[in-house]
Every structure is written in C-alpha cells, then in structure tokens.
C-alpha cells in the first residue's frame, strides 16, 4: 500500500507537535539549585567555606552567601552559567565563571561553591539532592474536596 503525500504531511505535522512538546519539556524544565557555601569534603579532600561570596546563575539577581549559607535558585533549561565573585585569602577580588549542565531528570541539586572555587570539575561540585522525607504536607491532616458547581464565581 502506497501512502499518500497527505499522509506523510500529516505525520510530519503530528511529529512536529510531539517534537515541539519534547523541546518545550527540555527547555521549560525547572531545576532548583541549592547553592551551598559550606565546608565540604569531596574524595577525601576538604574544601573550606568562603568568607563571603556573591553568586549569580544565568544572569539572575546576585545573591550573597556567608559561610554555612544555603540558598535555592530556580532555573529553567539545562545549560547554565555560574558566576562567583569572592575575595580570596589574599584579599584579592576574584571572579570565576563556569558553565554547567543540569540533567533533565534532576529536579533539585546541590552546588558546592567552595568546590567550584577550588576548580573541581562540575560533576563533582553539582550533586543530586535527596529531599528529606518530612515536609509540611505530611503533618497537615486531610483536605476535604469541594465539588460544588456554585462555589467559584470569581473570574
């Protein structure tokens, strides 16, 4: 059976839509990056927290971190640039710019700034974050579902 030109065009249109959906999924995927400025130990080497630093991801607002700070930055897409400005031991202003990638499946990751500053490869600095089991939601008890055609007159 020979498939008509129309069939192929239609298939292409559907494929385009699916592809668009997939692209949108990748592009629009939100990742939460927990930026850490803590003394950390990676592969047996300890990296000390910075005294003070300023972090920017993807040209967003700069955030200042003092030691033992952890902030959450939400980003879209997989490819990101990180800019860290800090003052090193010699009181010299330094700026480091690195690129990194967040895998699609990762929703929340920890980014260790001391490791970045130490020049470690990004896959060492950026690690998967296992969320703790306890959330507010599990404390709250029940929620009644309102199925009532008349409740929302707010438009």
């Amino acid at each position: 059976m020979k498939l008509s030109k129309k069939f192929w065009l239609r298939a292409a249109a559907v494929a385009f839509l699916i592809l668009l959906g997939v692209v949108m999924f990748f592009v629009g995927r939100q990742h939460s990056i927990l930026v850490d400025n803590k003394t950390t130990e990676i592969d047996g080497v300890s990296y000390k927290a910075l005294d003070v630093c300023e972090v920017r991801i993807d040209g967003g607002d700069p955030e200042e971190l003092v030691p033992r700070d952890r902030i959450q930055i939400d980003v879209m897409d997989q490819h990101h640039t990180l800019v860290v400005s800090y003052t090193d031991a010699n009181w010299e202003e330094k700026k480091i710019k690195v690129r990194f990638t967040t895998p699609v499946k990762e929703e929340m990751m920890v980014l260790s700034i001391p490791a970045v500053v130490a020049g470690l490869p990004m896959d060492k600095c950026l690690t998967h974050f296992e969320s703790q089991a306890v959330t507010v939601d599990q404390i709250e008890q029940g929620e009644t579902i309102q199925i009532d055609e008349t409740t929302s007159f707010d438009i």
């Binding site: 839509l17 699916i18 668009l20 959906g21 692209v23 949108m24 999924f25 592009v27 629009g28 995927r29 939100q30 990742h31 939400d74 879209m76 929703e107 959330t135 939601d137 599990q138 709250e140 008890q141 029940g142 929620e143 579902i145 309102q146 199925i147 009532d148 055609e149 409740t151 929302s152 007159f153 438009i155």
Partner: protein, 374 residues
C-alpha cells in the same frame, strides 16, 4: 426638508438599534449607573478591562464556530476547558515552567480535546434540535469523568510525583493547583505600560491571530459547508455535504480552541481550582457573548469584544456599587450572578419566540393580500 428627513431616519435608526440590541443596551445602562457608584477610577477600570479581554476573549471566540454550524451555544466548551486543565496539572507536576510550560500544556490538551469534542459531536448528532440542553448535560457528564480521573486515577494510574499537588491521602489532586511558576508569563512577555495601564501584548497578538484565523476559516470550504449546514441541514445534505461530519468538526474545533483558551486564562489567574474552574467558565463565556449582542444563531468577533467589555465592567463594578449603596458587598456579588443567568435566559427566550414569530408572518401577509384584492 432634507434636514427633517435625516433626523427622522436617525430617530428610526436609533429605534431599530434599541430594538435589535436590547441586551447590550441594558448592560450599558447598568454599567453607566454602577460605575459612579463604585467609585473606581477610570485608569483602574481600563486596566482591569484590558486584563480581562486578554484573559477571556480566546475562550469566548471558541464559541463562534458551533454557532456558525447551527448548533447553538456550545455549553460543551467546558470539555475543552477540562482538557486544558489536565494539561496544566501534568505540566506543573513535570515542573515545566514559564512559556514552555504553557505551550506544552496546550499541546497535551489537543488530543484530549479532540477526543472529547468527537464524543460530544457524536452525541449531539443523535440529539438534533436540542443541541444546547444536550451539550449542557454532556458538560456535567464529562465533568464526572474528569473527577474520576483527577480524583482517583491521578496518583495510582497517572503518576503524580509532587506532594504539593497530591491530596494528603496519597492520590487525587488538591483543590487548588498553584501555577505561580507560569503565572502571567505570557502577559508579562513584551508587556508595555501606558500610564498606569499595562498592556499584555502577547495575549493580544495571540487573540488577533485567532480572530484572523476565524475570519479566514469562514472563507474556506469547510467554513462554507458549516454555514450551509447551520442554515438548512436538509438542503446541505441534498447538495452532498456530509452534514454529520461537518457538525462534529465544528465541535472538535471549538473544543480544541476552548482548551487553549483555558490555558491562557489560567496562566493569567495563576491558580487552578481543580474541581471548579471549568464548571462556571462555559456559563460566563456564553453570558459574555450574549451580552455582546450575539444570539443563538448569529455571533461575530465584534460581539465577543463588546461582550467582554460590558460584561466584565458590570462584574467589576457591581460588588463595589452594592457595597457603597447598601453596605453589603455580597449583594453585588449575587447581583452579578443573577444578571449573568438572566442574560442567558432572556437571550434564549428571545431566540425561541423569534422563531415562532417568523412562522406566523405568512398568515398576516395572506390577510393583507386579500385586503389589497378588495
């Protein structure tokens, strides 16, 4: 002489205008009375109206095509709204945000809308002559199916990961889904400000494109067929037009557009009332369209915009006017609900009685002929 004639014709024109457009005029009067009572500033009102045009027009435009195909007001547009909501729930669980999230939600809604629209069209073909009441019941019926899916299947069957979406019992979606991550992302893109009024350029562009598509659609073969089917099914059938197929098409198109419209609507609202958002949307869209001067068998893009402006103006000012007048905001809220329903009732009654009046015209003509013959 000429002057008298022109004023006379003007008077007649005015009378005709009043006679042909009682509903919009009634709303103009309500608004004129309520606006000063509410005490809102012009800037505030204009800003609100612009937001609401951007938010609601797309949904209302989705009603136009079934009207063209003679199927009356499509109360089944809520089916599309539900499809859009399912898209949004999934997208927010997948943590796809911003404009990509909106686009993805729309893409997900398409197959669901097509399926539901096809179902609705099939059923309406079985109930010719009472499409409206049937589509109205379909919307309730599918709403039940929607609840079955969202309340019971989401979790165990359709994986939902985030506890912020799922009810504490472990399955089913919460009453409200937060869409903060994509809230007004379309509206804010390229938005410009004139004075205190923010103009959401992108939604307006989308609506403009849709209007263009509707106008273009009327010029296509399918559009022509729909108009023919809408005016006389039997003649269209005799001419070889596939009547049933054409009617189903019109409902499918309307449902898909309603799905898109719902996504646009909800990205502006920023929250999704999982079990209630869609139920009222059909009613409000239909009321707005009718307020714009449309009737069951005739509606245009102009009706959509006039309707949104007048209807929502009333919606904004009524509670405040009630508050200032009697000291009860609740009164104004009930008032606007009452007006919405009353508008639909009046429009339906006018449509039905007009149909009957047209039938009695021939008799009058016969009597007249005999008078002349004498």
């Amino acid at each position: 002489m000429t002057k008298i004639k022109s004023t006379e014709s003007f008077g007649k024109k005015l009378l005709k205008l009043v006679k042909n457009n009682p509903v919009p005029l009634m709303f103009v009067i309500i608004c004129v009375i309520c606006i000063p009572l509410s005490g809102y500033s012009a800037g505030y009102l204009i800003g609100e109206i612009i937001t609401r045009i951007a938010r609601n027009s797309f949904l209302i435009i989705s009603l136009l095509i079934p009207i063209m195909a003679g199927m009356g007001l499509n109360f089944g547009m809520t089916l599309g709204a539900m499809a859009g909501e399912i898209g949004l729930i999934l997208v927010s669980d997948w943590k796809v945000v911003g404009i990509p999230g909106v686009v993805l939600a729309m893409i997900i809604s398409i197959p669901i809308s097509v399926l539901l629209g096809w179902f609705c069209g099939k059923i309406l073909n079985l109930a010719k002559g009472r499409e409206m009441v049937t589509s109205y019941i379909i919307s309730y019926f599918i709403s039940g199916v929607y609840q079955l899916i969202v309340l019971y299947a989401m979790g165990p069957i359709i994986p939902i990961k985030h506890s912020s979406l799922v009810l504490p019992r472990g399955y089913g979606i919460r009453n409200t889904v937060n869409l903060l991550s994509m809230r007004q992302c379309l509206d804010n893109l390229l938005a410009i400000r004139i004075g205190s009024v923010r103009i959401p350029v992108v939604p307006f562009l989308i609506i403009a494109v849709l209007c263009f598509i509707v106008v273009w659609f009327k010029k296509t073969k399918l559009g022509q067929d729909m108009r023919a089917v809408g005016q006389d099914m039997e003649v269209a059938r005799a001419a070889g037009i596939k009547v049933e197929e054409t009617r189903i098409m019109s409902i499918i198109i309307s449902t898909v557009l309603a799905g898109f419209g719902m996504v646009i609507y909800l990205q502006n609202m920023g929250t999704l009332n999982t079990y209630n958002s869609h139920t009222q949307i059909g009613m409000f869209c239909i009321a707005a369209l009718l307020v714009g001067g449309a009737s069951v068998d005739k509606a245009s893009i102009g009706n959509v915009f006039l309707g949104v402006i007048l209807f929502h103006l009333m919606f904004i000012v009524a509670p405040k006017a009630g508050m200032n007048l009697i000291g009860q905001a609740q009164l104004g809220e009930y008032f606007r609900v009452f007006v919405s329903y009353a508008v639909i009732t009046v429009a339906l009654v006018m449509y039905e009685s007009k149909k009957r009046r047209a039938n009695s015209l021939t008799g009058l003509k016969l009597a007249e002929d005999q008078e002349v013959a004498k």
